[in-house]
């Protein structure tokens, strides 16, 4: 009985998972163990594409993280400029506080990219709306930059989510 079971079992040449001898595709990684050359070529092509997608996702997360660092720098510099014009220490404190939040989120995105980028995006949108409440015309000032920043943060956040899903499902 044991010999019979062993004779029907085989290991996948790609992921080394134990599979039945008669199956065409490995149920674990999808490798066409008993498939045609065309199916094998398709399998490796798909894997290469997935790998490229992973690199692309990591680049998008990295770009979004850099945006958070840049926003932090901008807020700090802006704080100094406003302070030098108004002599109001509160303006400086608020700008420094927001810069500190962006900086914290940028570092946190190394461990938890999705949630850090989501909060970063929401904070940026909130600051735009607060600016609109103070001066309604501020919403159109540098609108292209605002769109670029929002789209980079959103892309980074979605890439982090996709990467997380892929990590949960290795193959």
């Amino acid at each position: 009985m044991e010999n019979e079971l062993l004779s029907n079992a085989n290991n996948c040449s790609f992921c080394k998972n134990s599979i039945d001898k008669d199956v065409v595709f490995c149920p674990e990684c999808g490798h066409p163990e008993n498939g045609t050359d065309k199916q094998r070529a398709q399998f490796f092509a798909k894997r290469a594409m997935k790998k490229n997608k992973k690199i692309d996702d990591e680049n998008k997360i990295s770009s979004a993280r850099n945006i958070l660092f840049i926003l932090s720098g901008i807020m700090a510099v802006l704080g100094f400029i406003i302070y030098s014009n108004t002599d109001n220490i509160i303006d400086l404190a608020i700008n420094f506080f927001v810069a500190f939040i962006y900086l914290t989120l940028a570092f946190w995105s190394e461990q938890k990219p999705f949630i850090a980028l989501l909060i970063g995006l929401i904070l940026y949108i909130t600051i735009i709306i607060v600016g609109f409440l103070i001066d309604p015309l501020s919403i159109v000032k540098g609108i292209l930059w605002k769109i670029v920043i929002i789209s980079l943060l959103a892309k980074g956040m979605h890439s982090a989510l996709e990467l997380k899903n892929k990590e949960n499902n290795r193959f």
Binding site: I115, L118, V130, L161
Partner: protein
């Protein structure tokens, strides 16, 4: 049991790929993108509501009708979003098991933190905004029963609907995408951010962390609601007390 949607082959064991055609076996529909869209949509809706109410308050100051109308809009937005997550939301309204000692401990922490915040942040507010009247009670003096109205608008409505929005709807959605710890941090941050005040962020963020922790630990909205109510109730009563004290001193 799973099956391949391409060749209809069924499997008794857990598989990632169909052994017959090589297609990926979808275990559950991946709707993470929809969840992210729902979170962003909900937050942007609330922020737009705040912006809208800011202009309405400016145009129609001291009007009970405006106050009620804006509250109705806010409640309407929250209930509309919650309607799409009704089953999970209703689950949060189950009554928790009664542990008097534990709840007393939470209430003591709330009272202590409220007093600490009231006097420290209050003093800081007075220093930064010396000309601004920040007394909540006095902003309802134009009404016949200011104490009752201020309790209704500050101590009763916000704990019910803010908890439903942040510890209910947003918490449930974020929990599907990230870990409980990250969810508590994110909801606390968004809760602080929505108050649109630099000084508020400093104390509302830790308060939000505490409320999020209670929501996660007891899996109910009743305890965060009770803590939130106690905090806001105390603030209104302290404002009421200091307002009357100032008046008697003036007289």
């Amino acid at each position: 049991m799973s099956f391949c949607i391409r060749c209809n082959k069924s499997f008794n064991t857990e598989v990632n790929f169909c052994t017959n055609c090589g297609s990926k076996i979808e275990k559950e529909k991946n709707n993470n993108r929809n969840i992210v869209d729902a979170i962003l949509g909900f937050y942007i809706m609330i922020v737009c509501y705040i912006a809208f109410s800011h202009f309405i308050y400016k145009a129609y100051q001291n009007s009970l009708f405006t106050e009620i109308l804006l509250e109705v809009i806010f409640i309407g937005i929250i209930l509309t979003f919650c309607f799409f997550n009704l089953k999970e939301i209703l689950h949060l309204y189950k009554l928790p098991s009664i542990k008097i000692n534990l709840y007393l401990k939470y209430l003591l922490i709330t009272v202590f933190s409220c007093l600490l915040i009231y006097f420290s942040v209050g003093k800081l507010n007075e220093l930064i905004f010396p000309d601004k009247d920040l007394n909540i009670f006095s902003s309802y003096l134009y009404l016949e029963n200011p104490l009752l109205w201020s309790l209704f608008f500050v101590a009763i409505l916000p704990p019910i609907f803010e908890e439903l929005a942040f510890r209910g709807y947003l918490f449930n959605l974020l929990l599907k995408l990230t870990s409980p710890k990250s969810t508590i941090v994110a909801t606390a941050f968004l809760f602080a951010l929505i108050h649109f005040s630099f000084l508020s962020i400093i104390w509302i963020f830790p308060f939000g962390l505490f409320l999020g922790y209670l929501r996660k630990k007891h899996d109910t909205l009743w305890i965060p609601m009770l803590v939130h109510f106690t905090h806001n109730f105390l603030v209104v009563m302290l404002d009421f007390y200091f307002h009357n004290k100032e008046l008697t001193e003036l007289l």
